[in-house]
Symmetry: C2
Subunit: 417 residues, 2 copies
């Protein structure tokens, strides 16, 4: 130890740019995560995040699970484990998803570090630079971010109040083939309680989508983080029940249990599983053993279902509160989706208001949302739209926040500033 | 729900190959993980894995941490959290690493899902297809696996019993420039208790390496999973203390606390941090909140240091047991490294024996190791070498396993089968 140990000495700053991979040019920090920093002042009512209500987390259930696991299986629960995931958890998921219509067995389920990792792994095994992904517009921001890192491009299919306009799927496919000479790599779809749009794809559209995907030999990524959080209507069959051979289905505990465990999963055709396992080994060896044991224990004791039932009640009330407040406080010409579940609705303000321009003014008024343009991978829409989250804030704050936004909109429409 | 819900119906098998990314051609399952499956019969004495001793895991400490966290900070500990990592944990790491010579602050530490994820993120921000990485031979298999997924190539620098022969670093660098017209992207080095070689790079070699890296403008990845598990001699300054401006330092709790939490970290120049954060957002949003709270609690209560002290005592004894058994039972002409710490030693069997060929015979004799060739990224060495882990098996099993291997080697040398 003969050299200068003064770690406070000034360190030269190198220029790292010439050393970086080309793909870093397309990698950006999530606009939402940057926005969220602005909205974290404690007096801002934020509809911007996508957070589940933390006061509803199953803390007692997690606590009991930790004690039980550490008492009975501590050495295993804290050791390295299989890349594929914890077998009892996979078996529970297979059984549950079977009931829900998803053709899963323990052999075609891979546990991931949240479903964001599933999106990354999909990018890793499917996307070469310049490849196209078909997706709705608007679409989930995390998917855009994951796949931009693989230098993907996006061809979009517009949504209406029933979700993706699937009759325009083939047109988008053909446009990609015409432009690049090769097909898009897959179609990304969020059929239930879409993030950000709050829409649900009717069965007829799923059926049509399945038919077109089969005819075009197009893989489908079905992202279903909110499927169990339905507040009205009946479950609709997932796409992967219709075309299991070509669907990669993504599930997660982030919205039904807690996000802080980081547990999601992939259900895919068995022939693909080895590819995902190889990719995941290189990424992080395996998903956390301890958190998988916790989730398995809570599931096996039958505690997840009553918990989700309770979440449905609370979130339904918050959704209704937001819908009522919108009707009461927002100006004529505004409109919004009526989500049957999930965490979000999509609101459109009257032209010519621009939600991006309004954002900072809203934060000054102590209320926040995410401007719609962030959900358009090609930045070609959403200027008069915003995503509103209704799961995180308490009902009285929802009313107050929507009122503040309504007042701001009315003032702007009257030409005030 | 009008369609066939019989999920046991046969599902057509598609040919996915034409849909996959080119990089999948280079992605393989870890040879070690495949080998490990063979060695998991309960009566096999396995020196093949790299597992810490599970009977030493700090189960009581984890249990206390879980209870305390869930009682006092449950809603935060189970919620989404910052990509950068849990601030109190980062502050603890910065303080600890400062003492150890690493110039870290909370601002230049990123928590990762085990240090395997750090390797993946490094690949993501540095490696374009065809890029070269400089690494020792042998080298850590997980790094090869992570970077092959980015279509990297490897130029190797041989190790001797003092680790990487750094005087050959510039020659390897020049060979890459001559072949490709551009420099290698970085140098990967495991200075302490190398996996698989068990070697430690002396200060003089670190100093020389730092000098050459600076002259060549070469970034350095310093992987240090075992640094705190030293059983003899004195700590040697990490490379990142010598050249903090160009070193990416990797640490982990997998060997000092438990691997099942999946917690590692990156220390890097602040100008690089934003790149890593962006890459990690796309990969998995953030590292598990709950497990970070657990680790922070154990660290803050001062429980990690006495635990590591205990690990050192036990592992030192196991290392000595293995060294003694090798001296007693192995034939003349065999040799092995004398690791000053860590989990592994590297043993060479007399020519012409081939450790790959011997492997299945060894498993039949109920003892297992990893054949050396697996640690050579270009498969150009290690044929008479093997990696032996001494942390997992109890001392009496270490003696018995080394005896069985010794008997097998002697029989083969005498031409028996």
């Amino acid at each position: 130890m003969e050299v200068n140990m003064d770690v406070h000495r000034s360190v030269p700053v190198l220029d790292w740019e010439p050393h970086l991979a080309r793909r870093t040019a397309g990698m950006k920090s999530s606009a939402i995560r940057e926005l969220l920093k602005l909205t974290q002042q404690p007096d801002v009512i934020s509809f911007a995040g996508g957070l589940p209500a933390s006061e509803l987390f199953p803390i007692r259930e997690v606590d009991e699970a930790c004690r039980y696991i550490l008492r009975t299986e501590g050495p295993k629960a804290l050791q390295y484990s299989a890349t594929e995931g914890h077998r009892p958890l996979k078996e529970y998921l297979a059984t549950t998803m079977h009931k829900y219509g998803v053709p899963a067995s323990a052999e075609n389920i891979l546990l991931t570090n949240g479903s964001q990792q599933a999106l990354d792994l999909i990018g890793k095994i499917f996307l070469d630079p310049g490849d196209y992904v078909l997706t709705g517009s608007p679409t989930y921001l995390g998917a855009i971010q994951a796949w931009r890192a693989y230098q993907a491009r996006f061809k979009t299919i517009p949504l209406d109040d029933d979700g993706m306009q699937v009759e325009r799927l083939e047109e988008a496919y053909n446009a990609v083939v015409a432009e690049t000479g090769r097909p898009p790599k897959f179609l990304y779809v969020l059929p239930n309680f879409h993030n950000p749009a709050g829409t649900t794809l009717p069965f007829e559209r799923r059926d049509y989508l399945a038919e077109v995907a089969t005819r075009l030999d197009l893989p489908v990524v079905e992202d279903d983080p909110y499927g169990e959080l339905r507040y009205e209507g009946e479950d609709i069959l997932p796409i992967c029940t219709l075309i299991p051979e070509r669907t990669i289905y993504l599930g997660t505990f982030s919205k039904t249990m807690t996000p802080g465990l980081r547990l999601g999963w992939i259900v895919c055709p068995e022939v693909l599983m080895q590819r995902f396992v190889q990719a995941k080994q290189g990424c992080d060896l395996h998903t956390g053993t301890f958190v998988q044991y916790i989730a398995a224990d809570i599931c096996q004791r039958g505690l997840l279902k009553p918990h989700v039932k309770r979440l449905r009640e609370v979130y339904r009330e918050r959704r209704d509160t937001m819908l009522d407040a919108l009707a009461e406080f927002w100006p004529e010409g505004a409109s919004w989706t009526h989500p049957h579940g999930g965490l979000f609705l999509w609101a459109r303000v009257p032209e010519p208001l621009d939600t991006q321009e309004l954002f900072h003014e809203a934060v000054r008024e102590k209320v926040a949302y995410v401007p719609g343009i962030n959900f358009y991978p090609n930045l070609d829409g959403g200027n008069n739209a915003m995503r509103l989250n209704f799961s995180y804030a308490q009902p009285e704050l929802i009313v107050e926040g929507i009122r503040r936004l309504g007042n701001l909109l009315k003032r702007k429409l009257q030409g005030g500033d």
